[in-house]
């Protein structure tokens, strides 16, 4: 694998769990054992009911673009060669939203409400990033 030069998550605590599942090709969010609420980003306890118990529960992987931006000029040196690139907030069927990108859609064609499906991009030996592709069904 060639050297990967973009910022990577730090794998510790909950982020190690979250990205650990991604590496296995699974998108999982914390789901409260007490009230069933889904949450992202990971938290220590449920802000809805106060329960400290949760289960990493598999998402359908389906969602839609809630909002997005197209970055025309990178403001972080590592992304200098990436611009223009799009960043999307995807609202999942479970109700949580996550920041990611829609990999196979030209930034100019991106639209709010576009149906997307999660996929994973292995960027290093340890880390796979959850990305999205236009939903086929």
């Amino acid at each position: 694998m060639t050297e990967y030069s973009l910022p990577l998550p730090v794998l510790e605590g909950h982020s190690a769990d979250f990205y650990g599942f991604c590496k296995e090709g699974e998108l999982r969010f914390q789901r409260c054992d007490g009230c069933g609420a889904w949450r992202h980003v990971p938290r220590e306890l449920c802000a809805e009911c106060g329960s400290w118990d949760w289960t990493w529960t598999r998402s359908s992987g389906k969602g839609e673009v809630f909002t997005y931006t197209v970055v025309g000029r990178a403001l972080h040196p590592a992304f200098a060669d990436s611009a223009p690139y799009a960043v999307s907030v995807v609202e999942m069927e479970e109700g949580v939203r996550m920041l990611s990108r829609v990999a196979d859609v030209d930034p100019a064609e991106l639209e709010i409400g576009m149906r997307v499906q999660v996929d994973f991009e292995a960027v290093t030996e340890e880390i796979s990033l959850p990305i999205f592709r236009r939903a086929t069904v």
Binding site: P7, P9, V10, G72, L75, H76, F79, V87, L99, R101
Partner: protein
């Protein structure tokens, strides 16, 4: 509630090239020293200091200025919302006797300190939710404020039909005001809608001219009680009420059920309620204008118009001098200089003293100052003559 007053204001020169030539601390000390002097005070009388987050410590301000009797030091960690939020805390501090005279300094080399700024863009640990940004935003290239807020603007356009020309109207109003302010970095550099629309896209829908300036400069104010204010040389400006608030969750920008509910949504009704006033009573507004859409959004959340009506509201000269609600008569962060919102307080004080000549709002009696910081923290102060 007992009133507090702003009794001294100070600022440095605002510039880009070749830079201030001063350290970040010296720049702020210059502004602070002018504010203290203008109030007719001696540094030894300043017994409270509220530094802007991450730009210096009360200890070093006190040691350099000669504040030998410092007993109240605090920083409100709300980024650009800190200055107006600090007015709230400073007013409480002087009225409860924790301090007699509180200094609020701010300033930075936002232009000539570019190397520092670039480091900050790669290290998000100083913002709330820094680890969240590191682990869930940065890997996807969501790295900086214009990008974080641009997704709110995009969603607003989708839900309410807000248009680029309306964001442009905000940029143009600030630029027009800067033509009346010789301290403004954009003084002598007027802008047209064509200029605005032709500027390069930075983070869609934010073009280059939707974004605040990068400048060197400092500003400072001094707060004391209404009783003490009467004995000083300047015309005091009253802090009728000030409040601050946070969005929920404040450390993560994408998972808010209501994406447009920010700190100001909570703070504004509190401030107006305390003062027994309403937005229609206001003569002018100094709105924290890090980006054009944040002005539009804050106008809505303060209650100058309904949610979703900000686009039409900013059109037709309504927010320009001579309009119904002049906004940022100094030119703001967009066209005067990026002085972290402290310059907004300074301008409001000058309006209420009636010393602004060409850009004076006629018979200005009541003004609003807002702050916006981090992922949408908000603050507001209602100031009166």
């Amino acid at each position: 509630m007992k009133e507090a007053c702003i009794v001294g204001i100070g600022q440095t020169d605002y510039c880009r090239k070749p830079g201030s030539g001063l350290s970040q601390l010296a720049l702020q000390l210059q502004a602070a020293s002018r504010a203290i002097g203008e109030a007719g005070l001696k540094p030894a009388e300043i017994d409270g200091i509220m530094p802007f987050p991450n730009l210096g410590r009360a200890e070093e301000f006190a040691a350099n200025l000669g504040c030998q009797n410092l007993r109240y030091a605090a920083t409100i960690h709300m980024g650009g919302a800190a200055p107006a939020a600090s007015l709230q805390a400073a007013a409480a501090a002087v009225n409860s006797g924790m301090a007699n005279y509180v200094l609020l300094p701010a300033g930075w080399n936002g232009y000539s300190g570019a190397r520092v700024r670039q480091t900050v863009s790669q290290d998000v640990s100083s913002i709330p939710g820094g680890a969240i940004a590191r682990d869930y935003y940065l890997p996807f290239g969501f790295t900086a404020p214009p990008q974080w807020y641009s997704v709110l603007a995009r969603r607003h356009m989708h839900e309410f039909g807000t248009r680029s020309e309306q964001l442009g109207a905000i940029a143009l109003a600030m630029r027009k005001h800067a033509q009346l302010n010789s301290s403004a970095v954009m003084h002598g550099k007027p802008m047209t809608m064509d200029d605005y629309l032709a500027s390069p896209m930075l983070a869609d829908p934010y073009r280059f001219f939707d974004c605040c300036l990068e400048t060197d400069g400092g500003a400072a104010v001094v707060v004391t009680t209404a009783e003490r204010a009467r004995d000083l040389g300047t015309r005091p400006v009253r802090i009728l009420a000030a409040a601050s608030g946070q969005p929920y969750p404040a450390d993560e920008i994408t998972n808010r059920r209501d994406i447009f509910r920010t700190g100001l949504t909570i703070a504004a009704p509190e401030a107006f309620g305390k003062a027994g006033l309403k937005p229609s009573d206001v003569d002018f507004a100094m709105i924290y204008d890090c980006f054009t859409f944040e002005v539009l959004q804050q106008l809505e959340e303060v209650g100058f118009c309904e949610r979703g009506e900000g686009g039409p509201f900013v059109e037709g000269g309504r927010i320009e001098l001579g309009g119904e609600l002049p906004v940022n008569t100094h030119g703001g962060l967009l066209s005067e200089a990026h002085v972290l919102g402290m310059s907004h307080i300074v301008e409001a004080v000058r309006q209420l003293r009636g010393e602004l000549g060409e850009r004076q709002v006629k018979d200005a009696e009541l003004g609003v100052v807002t702050g916006w910081g981090d992922f949408g923290d908000g603050s507001i102060a209602l100031l009166a003559r």
